[in-house]
């Protein structure tokens, strides 16, 4: 199972055209392979293209050049509709600012991705969402509004939401960025444990070396180039 390749990036570049018609190269020749069960951390300073890389990995954006494959299929040629279906079914996102839907309870937030599912997942959305929240320790806060939850609790709701459709890959963009050190660590442990249990790959984008150290593989993104990184784990 560990060898089942999910995402493969070969010589991926991403550049954007600036208002003065000059080109800004954000990513330069990125090569990365993600298989089921992987736990990868990508570290880098602000503005090095971490979020752009995550958007490409999450099929939210497309490379300017290079090859991106999703389970062996050329993802650069996927229609927007097909990409949306893959995103809904196989990819889960955890954002730095939690991005919970305002005005909805924790339960409704976790049910939200299941509104785009079909069959049993759609009709059993309340049960599945309740189970997901119970797994992250929020079984008693189902009807709580996001603003009544602490930062750590909000991020746990976001994790439950990312995992509720049992994705193959979870993409976490600075998941501890808005949390204190202790809460951040607890959230990362939860995310790690949840993905290990489900067998999903976890790709964490972070600028925090300690968070990156919790992954089994680390990469550094520097000036648009991805390089393997070896960390000495500190606690």
């Amino acid at each position: 199972m560990r060898d089942t390749q999910l995402l493969k990036l070969e010589s991926v570049t991403r550049s954007v055209l600036l208002p003065d018609d000059s080109e800004l190269h954000i990513l330069n020749g990125i090569n990365l392979s993600v298989s089921e069960g992987d736990h990868i951390a990508i570290v880098g300073r602000s503005g090095t293209g971490k979020s752009t890389l995550l958007n490409i990995l999450g099929l939210l954006d497309r490379p300017t050049t290079g090859h991106l494959a999703w389970r062996g299929i050329d993802a650069t040629k996927l229609s927007a509709r097909r990409a949306a279906h893959i995103r809904g079914r196989d990819l889960g996102f955890v954002f730095q600012q939690f991005n919970l839907l305002p005005g909805r309870t924790a339960l409704e937030n976790v049910m939200a991705p299941l509104m785009y599912a079909t069959g049993a997942d759609f009709w059993r959305r309340k049960t599945l969402a309740t189970e997901a929240l119970e797994k992250v320790g929020l079984g008693a806060r189902l009807d709580s509004m996001p603003q009544t939850l602490s930062g750590g609790e909000q991020q746990r709701v976001a994790i439950a939401r990312a995992l509720v459709r049992r994705p193959r890959v979870v993409l976490a963009d600075e998941p501890t960025g808005a949390l204190d050190v202790a809460t951040g660590r607890a959230v990362m442990e939860l995310l790690d444990a949840a993905t290990v249990e489900s067998g999903a790959a976890l790709i964490t984008i972070t600028h925090d070396i300690n968070v990156a150290a919790m992954a089994r593989e680390q990469f550094q993104l520097d000036e648009g180039t991805l390089k393997p990184l070896t960390l000495e784990v500190t606690s």
Partner: protein, 411 residues
């Protein structure tokens, strides 16, 4: 089969999302929909009100005779420019109506020189001498008691039907019928029986009284003979003019020495329904303008709201929402909201249009047969509100569908 299931769950989910959105933003939705609710209520009320006004106007117009009404006049040298009311004409009219198989026919004559007395009250109502079919021809109903029947001519006392004015003046109500009144004709007082009362007030200051020709002939003609009469027929509108021509020809054949004229004289011949059309057009026009203004305000609020919801759209896209699904969901929000607003508008309209007090306040007159609330008007109200929702939902839905996910999440 799989794509059908996906379509079905997508539709249900869009409805659920729309409802959830409306529930969360109740106040904003409520305020933005006030205009639509008022507009739909106005539009539905205009359509339904026009139907009620049509009924009222029809009732009033038909009091002068339902279409097609053919009036027949017979003149001879003795009738002094007035249509004769003698037995020969009455007999000829009866024979001719039977020959032409006319179901509703009546002699109509106005008697004069008499008074009606009851418990010390004396009034001078208009006395109309007419056959039983007069009620059908003039859309008259007995509100209390009953209308005249042919057998009433055999009664031991003259049978009369009075209108509401007479009933009020003489202090007669539902419980006092049949009531005994005195009719004084040239000093001869006859005790008559009031067998019914209509709800109309079409006569003069002292109202109207109806009596059968045979009754008048038996009790009063000797003292005050009828001087003139019109003979009325209510016939199908189709070929009514042709019938009038043949009818007058036949009457002339029956009445040598008489000059006979038969012609249509109902309100359709002088365009009495034009006012009604104008009323419906004006009311519809005003409601249309209100609807336009309501829709524009709804669109304005929807566009501003959508700009504030860009991040939410981005999050939903990250869950796997397709462009089409986002477009449809936002469109459904608008449609569901306006459908609810339209439903409330229609309910307000029903409450207004079916309330006799409110109706009489606007129409200033009682209505005999309250028409049911027109289903067409209610359906039109709902459909228009759904249409407005769809039209005003398209622009925000397009904005939402064109959101770039990467930019939206960063907002």
């Amino acid at each position: 089969m799989k794509s059908m299931a996906r379509l079905f769950t997508g539709f249900i989910a869009s409805l659920l999302e729309a409802w959830q959105e409306l529930r969360i933003h109740k106040l904003r939705v409520l305020l933005s929909l006030v205009g639509v609710t008022i507009a739909v209520a106005s539009l539905t009320t205009a359509v339904a009100g026009a139907s009620v006004a049509q009924q009222l106007m029809t009732e009033q117009l038909e009091r002068s005779g339902r279409p097609a009404l053919i009036n027949t006049y017979a003149f001879n040298q003795r009738s002094d420019d007035l249509p004769a009311a003698d037995a020969a004409v009455t007999e000829a009219f009866k024979k001719t109506t039977e020959r032409f198989d006319v179901e509703y026919a009546s002699m109509v004559s106005r008697a004069s020189g008499y008074r009606m007395l009851h418990q010390g009250t004396s009034i001078d109502p208009e006395l109309l001498v007419a056959d039983p079919a007069y009620a059908s021809i003039h859309r008259l109903f007995a509100q209390y008691g009953r209308w005249l029947e042919a057998e009433d001519a055999q009664n031991l006392a003259p049978a009369v039907v009075i209108d509401r004015t007479v009933a009020q003046k003489l202090g007669l109500d539902e419980n006092s019928l049949p009531a005994s009144v005195d009719i004084d004709v040239a000093g001869q007082v006859v005790s008559a029986t009031v067998i019914g009362a209509t709800s109309t007030r079409d006569g003069g200051l002292d109202g109207q009284v109806w009596m059968l020709p045979q009754t008048y002939e038996h009790w009063f003609a000797a003292k005050a003979p009828l001087t003139d009469a019109t003979y009325e027929m209510w016939v199908p509108v189709e070929n009514a003019e042709e019938l009038a021509v043949h009818f007058s020809a036949q009457m002339r054949a029956e009445l040598p020495g008489y000059q006979v004229e038969a012609m249509r004289s109902d309100y359709l011949t002088w365009g009495g329904d034009e006012n009604l059309r104008m009323l419906a057009l004006v009311a519809g026009g005003i409601a249309g303008i209100i609807l336009l203004l309501g829709s524009l305000s709804l669109l304005n609020v929807a566009m501003v709201t959508m700009k504030q919801r860009i991040r939410e759209v981005g999050i939903r896209r990250s869950f796997g929402a397709t462009t089409g699904r986002v477009f449809f969901s936002v469109l459904m929000e608008s449609v569901v909201a306006t459908a609810v607003a339209g439903g409330i508008g229609v309910l307000i309209s029903v409450a207004v249009v079916t309330n006799p007090k409110i109706l009489n306040m606007f129409l200033g007159s009682g209505i005999d047969q309250m028409p049911p609330f027109p289903v067409g008007a209610a359906l039109a109200g709902i459909l228009i509100s759904i249409g407005v929702g769809a039209l005003t939902g398209v622009l925000p839905a397009l904005v939402a569908a064109r959101v770039k996910i990467v930019d939206a999440i960063r907002v």
